[in-house]
Symmetry: C2
């Protein structure tokens, strides 16, 4: 399935901004990009896309399950492609380094906790903040 088909499968028209943003996210898997980051990349590639469009498209992608939105410590959102395989994050509060992990035990426990509270889970966020090995040395 190509990008155009992926968008249509999500109920979205295959427009130039959407295709380009999807392309950018695919080319940078593992990274966590802000809307502004993506906007700048578009401009660098001679693409006249409005910042508002970037925000709109990312929100639509999120609703369609194509991307995940995260709010690490500082408040402004970052995005990454959601390839079906969920993961959580370790974030260094000094240098911003991000490590990804997946712990089946934690995932299972969460389901159980929600179950006991009568909640039907839609999603969750687990961010572990701290200092990475490099930053522990640098004080």
């Amino acid at each position: 399935m190509n990008d155009e088909q992926r968008l249509k499968a999500a109920g979205l028209k295959a427009t130039v901004p959407r295709l380009k943003i999807l392309e950018i996210l695919q080319a940078r898997e593992g990274q966590h990009l802000s809307a502004e980051d993506i906007y700048k990349i578009l401009l660098e590639n001679q693409l006249d896309v409005g910042l508002a469009t970037v925000y709109r498209v990312l929100t639509q992608f999120e609703a369609a399950g194509l991307v995940a939105r995260h709010r690490f410590e500082d408040g402004h959102a970052v995005f990454e492609l959601d390839q079906g395989e969920h993961h959580d994050h370790l974030v260094c509060t000094r240098c911003g380094r991000v490590e990804e992990f997946l712990d089946p035990v934690i995932e299972e426990r969460q389901r159980r906790i929600a179950d006991e509270a009568g909640f039907r889970i839609t999603h969750h966020q687990l961010y572990i903040f701290g200092l990475c090995s490099d930053c522990q040395d640098k004080g």
Copy 2:
């Protein structure tokens, strides 16, 4: 230890705004209040405190370990007294209901994950989002 002593122990002068905000938080344990909420409560009590002061004090309280700051789904921060006993949250995305929980297994797993990645944990955030039992019925 009374409130005045608690503030001084945290290296903060015992000022009227600080004492009142601490009092409000204590009177509403279990709730999660925004800066605006606290500001309104102060005004209702004939206390002329600026909103900027509320933000400043809450940030100082957070740094001193007196309160915990959370960012549930919508982005704006809420605060609660930090009584030493950490807990995490289940949040209903429809009605805003919040349930608190503490899972020793999850806590332990987090320490282990951080350890293996060489991170020194400072804190973490775990929010489970979904629909509470009431909201599942109402569609």
